[in-house]
């Protein structure tokens, strides 16, 4: 068995600078930048290979954006207007954890979505489905000490887009997360189980096959609220980090 090697970001040459070492995605979870089936990548994906950046202080730290960013009802997208929004009410809950299953506590989670008819409240959305005067589609919350988050909203509709003939996006909610380090920043989309549009959506299918289901929530009767809202559960996994080599120092 080989000796444990100190990670490159915390070796003796660092002169006492012991940093957490975030493991890299080995290319198996995230989609490639260059994915021609998704037409907008063609002029936007970089042409040159990415340059490997070793993790320094700027990368292992990150914005810890706190309570001042989140209002009391920001997690409930159904109460931001005088009336109730149209559509199927849902509760989306889950945990934010790292790649080792440790909870990521106190992290800002931001979501945005189309309304139940598949229309975004955005000038750029030309889909001729109705806007809902009682739905904006923006939510925020902070994960709790166990990494849990919770949103109340309506199920977004599928909608057409111009990527190819008869292109439709499966219903989804956009999620933005910070984690506790610049390395953990993640923007992604949550999908709903059994959507017949998965097979036709290049954005969903840009992710390697084995990792696609990680983006799909599951129906959950335990969090379903009787007479009110269906429950969906979706856990979000940010990058994990190796144990800091403090234990190894004892051996030296």
């Amino acid at each position: 068995m080989s000796e444990p090697q100190p990670s490159t970001s915390a070796g003796p040459a660092a002169a006492g600078l012991v940093l957490p070492a975030y493991r890299r995605d080995d290319g198996r979870a995230h989609p490639p930048l260059d994915f021609p089936d998704y037409r907008s990548t063609r002029l936007r994906a970089p042409g040159r290979p990415l340059v490997l950046l070793s993790h320094g202080l700027t990368e292992v730290t990150g914005p810890l954006l706190g309570e001042g960013r989140v209002g009391e009802t920001d997690h409930d997208l159904t109460v931001h207007h005088p009336g109730q929004p149209q559509g199927e009410r849902i509760v989306v809950t889950g945990r934010v954890v790292d790649g080792d299953g440790r909870p990521v506590a106190g992290t800002l989670v931001e979501i945005w979505q189309a309304n139940a008819a598949g229309r975004y409240r955005h000038d750029g959305d030309r889909h001729p489905a109705p806007l809902d005067p009682n739905f904006t589609g923006l939510g925020r919350c902070l994960s709790d000490a166990a990494g849990r988050y919770r949103f109340v909203t309506v199920k977004p509709g599928a909608y057409p887009w111009k990527n190819h003939h008869n292109a439709w996006r499966p219903a989804h909610i956009h999620f933005s997360l910070f984690g506790r380090a610049f390395t953990q920043r993640l923007v992604t989309q949550m999908y709903f189980p059994g959507d017949p549009l998965f097979a036709y959506d290049p954005i969903f299918n840009s992710v390697p096959d084995h990792a696609r289901q990680r983006m799909v929530a599951r129906f959950d009767l335990d969090t379903t609220v009787p007479e009110l809202a269906l429950g969906y559960r979706w856990d979000i996994v940010l990058r994990g980090r190796d144990a800091t080599p403090l234990d190894q120092e004892d051996d030296q």
Partner: protein
């Protein structure tokens, strides 16, 4: 029914990235997003630029985020092993591009930092770029044009050829402002990093 054989629990797989799409403006821009420091802060610098695509056209639906140390090279973060820095320094900026592809943040120049492998990293700002058509964020860095010696000694810049290195150094504009264009693709492509 027989249970499948017990296996050691596999670590959970990373949640894949997906594009921010064209409609993030519903939720992500904040009124104070571009203000890393409050307006009127002594020594504040405006860093602005454009995001351009492979045809040289402005990208009007990108989101640029910045993260950096304070002027003493400290972070208000528990994982800075030198101790948390000056309280109240947010260090974070967020600005959507306008129809001409322009973005800007108001900040102060960060201090230099000890590098993980030894040596000193020149003052820099980490940048994330999100947009429709980007299935994952792009990561780059802004370095400062008035730090030629520190930039020459910076271990990250040192690994790049001179031409590519130049894409990471902001250029001085009028009145002490800085300009930093982000070219997603093409002859002047900005250096982007794998984290």
């Amino acid at each position: 029914m027989t249970a499948p054989p017990a296996r050691s629990p596999a670590p959970p797989g990373l949640t894949p990235s997906q594009t921010v799409g064209p409609f993030f403006a519903i939720g992500l821009p904040w009124p104070d997003g571009p203000l890393v420091v409050p307006a009127g802060t002594p020594g504040a610098i405006r860093i602005s630029g454009r995001v351009l695509d492979g045809a040289g056209e402005p990208v009007p639906d990108a989101l640029v985020e910045t993260w950096q140390a304070d002027p003493d090279g400290r972070f208000a973060h528990p994982d800075d092993p030198r101790g948390a820095g000056e309280t109240g320094f947010r260090g974070f900026g967020r600005c959507p591009t306008d129809p001409q592809g322009r973005w800007a943040v108001l900040t102060v120049k960060p201090g230099p930092l000890p590098a993980p492998g030894g040596g000193i990293q020149a003052p820099h700002v980490d940048v994330s770029v999100f947009a429709r058509g980007l299935l994952d964020r792009l990561v780059t860095r802004i370095y400062f044009p008035d730090e030629p010696e520190a930039n020459a000694a910076d271990p990250v810049l040192a690994r790049l050829g001179p031409e590519r290195r130049a894409s990471l150094v902001a250029t001085a504009g009028e009145g002490g402002t800085l300009r930093f264009d982000i070219c997603l693709q093409g002859d002047h492509e900005t250096v982007f990093f794998a984290l």
